[in-house]
């Protein structure tokens, strides 16, 4: 009896203690577990981020329909029009690969941001007119629900191109073409120029052309961010990495003339991640080369220009980086609010920057004195020797000025004819170009993006016919020369 009682008591005590501890522990754990469960459910639900063991969220997807190399304004514009012109919502998977996610060296952000219709080629004028229409309605094209409207800061002050006696005839015929295409350009004699802009010294000027409307300058960063925001809302994927390799298959063929050709098709793009050796192969159907100043290197990765010279395989993409300086100076006696974007007969240009008598300008160096494009250092002597003298001669008020700031940026310079390269490569059949615009890529980006997207989706140009900008012209040696490159 005492034994049983003892046993019972012991058991009871043990049980009680067991239950006690169990209960105490469980109440503590229960709250933790519930919140843990909640977190887990939230992360698994659509829109949540599930913390996996091997998180590959930073890697690009394994498959994409279109891979765009270069996330500048041209690449983003192609992405925008691809998504906008797709037949069914979410039909195309687009991946944009950008190496420099701060855009520290990208031509877009370092650009002066001008837009003009005063070109000599009808194609360039049409591209620019389409783009100006896009920019005017930018808040309709790039509207994102719940986000504030974009402030493009467009200055509709126009371009004023000055011409010497030698170039007057060319200018006159250019203006004729521009008017036929619908641009609002007027010609001015030196007397009219003196009357309208009294601060200009008209010595050596025979004729001037002036844009009344749709010309001026805007904030390139705003366009870039607006495109980025919209494209992200449309479901385009972004990746910070570098394209290091193209995996392609090739077909050997022979032409009727007996020439052997190798047709290539890119199947995979290897994207190397930033600051690591990790890379991801991305299967794709189409690659768009919008790498701006570095698109020549990207083309070489795909085997363009590696064949023997003189053949189609041996023709390189003639796009290379060229460094251009931009200077900002302060001049208290300088021209006033009406100052347009003035381009001198010497090629030097300037425009007003803000309201505080600050001006911004530069000049394209001649072919012999082209600076080293390895870095973005500014050569201040260039301003003293090459930019200031012609500008001070043209605008006497600029004889006293003080340089406030300067920077350098790259042109994606087409050494062949200073015009863009658009459309597929004849041998690497699924690589499309959207590059080589030699300084007017920013202002034409909205239209070029549409043209490339039409070519990818429908197989032909629909809005603006850019057949003269195809890669084939390098093989035939047909230059489409643009005379107004600033």
């Amino acid at each position: 009896m005492p034994l049983r009682a003892l046993r019972f008591g012991l058991c009871q005590g043990l049980l009680a203690r067991w239950f006690g501890t169990r209960r105490g522990a469980s109440t503590l754990d229960w709250h933790g577990k519930i919140s843990e469960m909640k977190k887990k459910i939230q992360s698994i639900l659509p829109g949540g981020t599930w913390d996996q063991l091997n998180d590959t969220g930073h890697l690009p997807p394994e498959q994409a329909d279109v891979v765009i190399v270069g996330g500048g304004v041209l690449g983003l514009s192609v992405a925008y029009w691809l998504k906008r012109l797709e037949k069914q919502r979410g039909a195309i998977r687009v991946l944009v690969v950008e190496r420099d996610h701060t855009y520290s060296q990208a031509s877009t952000g370092l650009s002066v941001g001008g837009i003009r219709q005063q070109f000599s080629l009808p194609e360039n004028i049409q591209l620019s007119l389409f783009s100006v229409n896009f920019l005017r309605n930018i808040n309709e094209y790039l509207a994102v629900v719940d986000d504030p409207p974009l402030d493009l800061q467009f200055n509709p002050s126009g371009y004023l191109l000055l011409s010497s006696e030698k170039g007057a005839a060319v200018m006159e015929s250019n203006v004729k073409v521009q008017r036929e295409e619908g641009a609002k350009i007027c010609l001015m004699s030196p007397e009219q120029l003196r009357y309208k802009f009294p601060w200009i010294n008209t010595e050596g000027v025979a004729l001037a052309s002036y844009g009344m409307e749709n010309e001026g300058w805007f904030d390139p960063w705003c366009l870039l961010q607006g495109l980025r925001r919209k494209v992200q809302a449309m479901g385009v994927l972004f990746c910070h990495g570098e394209v290091t390799r193209f995996v392609s298959s090739s077909d050997h063929m022979e032409t009727a003339g007996g020439e052997k050709l190798t047709l290539k098709r890119i199947h995979e793009v290897h994207v190397k991640m930033d600051h690591s050796l990790e890379y991801q192969p991305v299967e794709c159907a189409v690659v768009i080369n919008a790498a701006g100043a570095w698109s020549g290197q990207v083309a070489e990765l795909a085997g363009i220009g590696t064949g023997p010279p003189g053949t189609l395989q041996g023709i390189k993409l003639p796009v290379e980086p060229r460094k251009r300086y931009v200077y900002i100076w302060h001049c208290p006696q300088g021209p006033g609010l009406e100052t347009p974007f003035v381009t001198d007969t010497s090629g030097a240009y300037f425009r007003r920057e803000g309201l505080g008598n600050n001006y911004l300008g530069g000049r394209s160096p001649s072919e012999e004195e082209e600076p080293d494009s390895g870095n973005l250092d500014v050569d201040h002597d260039f301003f003293q020797e090459k930019v200031w003298p012609p500008l001070a001669q043209r605008v006497p008020a600029f004889e006293t000025l003080k340089v406030r700031r300067a920077w350098a940026g790259y042109y994606d310079y087409n050494t062949f004819d200073q015009n863009g390269v658009v459309g597929p490569h004849p041998l690497v059949v699924n690589m499309y170009f959207a590059t080589g615009f030699s300084g007017h890529g920013l202002q034409q980006a909205p239209a070029v993006g549409r043209a490339v997207a039409e070519l990818v989706l429908q197989g032909r140009f629909q809005t603006i016919d850019l057949s003269s900008f195809l890669f084939n012209r390098f093989y035939w040696g047909e230059k489409v020369q643009e005379s107004n490159v600033i």
Binding site: R89, D146, P149, N155, E213, L355
Partner: protein, 257 residues
Amino acid sequence: MAAPRAYLRLVSPVWNAGFGGARGLSGMVAPEGTQKKKRTLGQYLADHFSDVQALREYLTQRQMSKVHQKNWIPTNVKNQYGPYVAGAFFILKLGGSVKFQGQEWIGPNGYSQFRQGFLKFQTVPIEAVDASGCALNYNGLDNLLPLKELQTLSLQRCPHVDDWCLSHLYPLAHSLRELSLAGCPRVSERGLACLHHFQNLRRLDISSLPAVSNPSLTQILVEEMLPSCEVLGVDWTHGMKLAPEEPPQDTARPVPA
């Protein structure tokens, strides 16, 4: 720079249209705080359901296309009866007023009367247009550009008139004497810079433009640019806010609209 207020409001009416049933009438008087909360519900739904997102995008697009529909160009009228009648029809339909040379002002109330007797105005030029507060935009301005005798143009408080519109007005540069842009929320100093074409302008009203960053400096620069024009802009007393003490009667004065 402060974003124009009328423009920012674009989002909430869209929301109202989409979820009007759920919010009911209380939404009309709901305080700012609850409105914000409900907007985030809309955002939340749009983030998780692509249908809701598509619906909201569609509604935003429709809101914008309404303005475009209002700014039509009466091509038939223009071809048949000339630019003066077409311009007058357009402005009256938008809710503005028109003054033909040697005639009285015709307001939006006179629209039906004008419809009956417009034939006599075919050759009479329009000399003044008042489009205050109308939903006039860049495309709609095309109706006014053929009016070569237009001397007075008032675009006060037009929510869709922006810098692009000002650069579009240059065909009127020779005739225009008076231009009023007071209270346009989207006009900035960048657009005012291209008014230098208007050398015949005698009177320019650029008061209370919220998008102009330095109103006083801008006014001085515009006066320098147009020496023969009287520029109405910022009140000089308004610019002197830094004065240590303001007279009491100033605060009691009603704020001018």
